[in-house]
Each structure stands twice: as C-alpha cells, then as structure tokens.
Amino acid sequence: MGSHRIFDLKIDRFEGPMDLLFHLIEKNDIDIYDIPISEITDQYLDFLGEMSELDMEIASEFLVMAATLIHIKSKMLLPGPRGGRLTEECDDPREELVIRLLQYRRCKVLAKDLRERYSYYSDCVYKLPTLPRTIGINVLSIPQEFDPEGYNRAVMAVCARNEMRFADISSKITHLLKREKISIRDKMKAVWQKLIEKGRVFFHELFPSAETEPAEKVAGFLAVLELLRSNRISADQERPFDVILLSKKEERSRKESRMYLKEPHKVRKEQQI
C-alpha cells in the first residue's frame, strides 16, 4: 500500500490537508475507525515529497498535518497499557484525527447539499413590495414627538463632555510631559541630522551605553526603526548583539530600497537587540 504512486495528483486539487488525507483514505478503502496510521503517514509524506520535487509550493497547513500524523505515528509506537482497558488518559492517539476527519466529511457532504440546493432554489423570484398608494392606501407618517428640551439637553451634554474630555486630556499630557522628556520625533531628527553630516554612523556612537538612559536608548532605537521603515536609512549588523552600522540612503537608489525590502532579515537582525 505504501508504494502507491500519486504523481498524477496536484496539491492545488485539494482544498487542504484534510481533503488530501481523505482522498488517501478513500483511495485505499480504509476503515476510518482503524486507520493504519503508519502507511497513511508514509503516503501523505510521499505526496508532499513529490510535490516539493516538482517545485510546487506547499502551504503550511499541509506541513502541520504532516507533523500531526508523525506525532500520532510515534505515539502508536510507544508501548501502551497491556491487558487492560484503555483509560481516559490512554485514548487511542488516532481518536482526535478520526473526529476531525468525520467532521470534515460531514462538512463536505453538507457543502454538496448546499450546492444542489442553491442551484435549485436560488432562482426563485421574490416580489418587490407593493407601494401602498398604488392600491389606494395612504400611509400617514407618525410624527415623532420632538422634545426640544431633549434636543437642548443633548447639545449641552455634548459640550459639557467635550469640556471635560479636553480638560482631562490636557492634564494627562502635562503629566506625561514632566515625566517623559524623550520624544521619538526628536530622536529621529537627531539620527537623521547625524547621518546627513557623516553619511554613516554606529548606533552605539549615537547612544553610548555609559551615558544614555535606557528609556532614551529605546526611544533612539524606535527612531531608527521608524527611519528604516520609511526607507531613508539602512542598518547592518553582522550577527545578533553585534554593532549596528546605520547609513543614509541616497535619494536615487530606489532599486536598492526595493532590494532592501526584499531582505527583511536585515531589519529583523536589528530587532534582536
């Protein structure tokens, strides 16, 4: 069973890993309540292997299922409780998979039913509402009891709330200003100025560990990330925790920027600090 060739199958024919698994089960006429997990796993992996040989992209969901199958297979190999009934803790490792397969099968059948229903019922025509006046009925609109008091109260309520809101916000901001003097905007400005002067600079030169507050360093780092994001500077780091070299990007080197975007690992390296 394990040596079945499935060259003729394409991964994009399957809605997902469940669909593929089901195909294998149906094809081999397997009893779903007693899946030969080892063989199914082999076939599943063979299939993925062939797909990757054909250079087909395999969605991560298929790989997750592969991992699940291998996990179950390994559990099956472990010696289970002997001579006794399976306890709650020692369920058949395949149980969850079987439940999922049943669920998926149900879903497929129901989907098919919905498809049939749709083709049968979707062309039924519903009528547009009859306009009352066309059949001689005058509809009187019920006047809404307008309460001028209520309207005025609402206007006053909005104004009062806004007064509170801004009194509140401004006190909070004053508080923040006192406590936190570091502005990312200022840091961006500082980094950018330095790069305009020197072209390239090490991060630790801008923010020397000895004399920089941690909060300021963080702000500086966020500023660098922001500049990176706007694609005006580049940053290089050989390996994690190594020094970071910042350099100003030339206006014209759009090609380079595009390359930069394609190599996000450079940015990621930065984030490991």
Binding site: A111, L114, C124
Partner: protein
C-alpha cells in the same frame, strides 16, 4: 387576540387565507408571524396553521406557480423553483460565477455550527478561511452576530435570512444535528447526493431527510 393593536379587529378563520395571501403578496419581503397575528387579530396557533395549509395548497396544486415559504419566524411568498425556465425566458437569465467547493464547505460549517468563529471554521476545514468568509459576508449569506466571550473576543458568524431564501431552507436553527452521524451514514448520504445530482431533484436526497432518519418520506414535505 388583541395584544398588540388595541382594537377589536379580528379576522375569522375563513377570512384568513385570502388575507394572508394578500399581505404576503403586497409585502414582497418576509413578514413575521408576530406582525401577522397583530394585523389579523388572530393568535399564533391559528395563523401558523393557516399559513401551513396555504403553503401546502400552493405546493400540491401544480396549477399554481407560487409558493409560501417559512424562514425561521417569517413567511414570504415567492415563485416555485420549477418556474425557473419560464422566468428565465421572461427576465434575462442571470449569469453567476460558479462558487467554489471551498465556499460551500465554509458555508456548511457556519450553517451547521452557528454561531461560529473563524477559528472554528478553520479547525474543521484545516485551512485558513478568511477570504472565503469575506466573500460569504459580501454575498449576504452570513453576518456577524456578536463576539465570543473568550480571549481576544473573536467575532461570531451566523447565516442570514438571505441564505435561507437562496438555499430553500426553512430554519437554520432547526437544521439537523449532524454531530453524531457515523461515517457510513455520511458516506451513504454522499452517494445518494451524487446519484441525485443527475436527476436535479434535490428534494429527495437533501439534508432534510436526515432530520428524521426514521422517516425518509419526510423529504416529500420539502418545498416544491
């Protein structure tokens, strides 16, 4: 009963069929049972009975081109599915892009498990369903219905009245519980669906028949 409108108006049982036919016709849109009770001055039991009789009469009289359909607690009048051919000759035939298998699968999960979260849909199908859910929302077949009281407060989805209308389903909440179905049963059902695909007579083999496994004749009660 004079519960809602404070007047003495009440139709006799004999007057109800004509009145309900007129109201459903004039409304065009689905009308709730409550509203019908209110305007006819009749209690729900009688109204439901008359509506069901009306629906049956329409259904079994092959000289009628209309039908009355229940959608949860609403009733609506529409043309019978069999009138498709003549209506296509009257209107221009609608050309609709065919829906993918994945679309129907996702819809099925929502319909039978509602309300559901994205994660629940994905766990059944084993693949990400975001774009399909977006399409179903756009189509008006499903809608958001609150959030699940769980971390992240994921959005819950349910099917719409539009879904019931386009799929000829009376009630989403009364759809048969399929959870306990055995594999062999599912397989049988699928095979019968496959066989039926050629005959186009969905009524014979639809999920409705599973609502009561003992009573396969049940299917005859389906709209037609």
């Amino acid at each position: 009963m004079t519960e809602v409108q404070n007047d003495e108006f009440s139709l006799s049982r004999d007057e109800l069929p004509a009145a309900l036919e007129a109201v459903l016709f004039a409304s065009g849109d689905p009308v709730s049972i409550d509203r019908i009770c209110e305007i006819t001055g009749t209690d729900e039991k009688v109204v439901t009975e008359v509506l069901n009789t009306l629906s049956d009469t329409y259904k079994h009289d092959h000289h009628r081109g209309l039908t009355v359909r229940r959608l949860e607690n609403d009733y609506v009048m529409c043309t019978k599915p069999e009138m498709k051919t003549i209506l296509e000759r009257f209107f221009r035939p609608r050309s609709r892009p065919p829906m993918s298998q994945a679309t129907y699968e996702t819809l099925a999960v929502v319909a039978y498990n509602q309300p559901v979260t994205r994660a629940q849909v994905e766990s059944v199908r084993g693949v990400s369903s975001d774009s399909i859910i977006a399409r179903l929302l756009e189509r008006g077949w499903i809608q958001e219905c609150g959030t699940l009281d769980a971390p992240g407060r994921p959005v819950l989805f349910e099917t719409t009245q539009q879904f019931l209308m386009e799929f000829g389903i009376e009630s989403a909440t009364e759809m048969p519980a399929m959870d306990l179905m055995m594999y062999s049963t599912i397989r049988d059902l699928e095979e019968s669906l496959e066989t039926a695909a050629g005959t186009r007579d969905v009524r014979q083999v639809s999920i409705d028949s599973l609502a009561d496994a003992n009573d396969q004749k049940q299917t005859d009660c389906d709209e037609g």
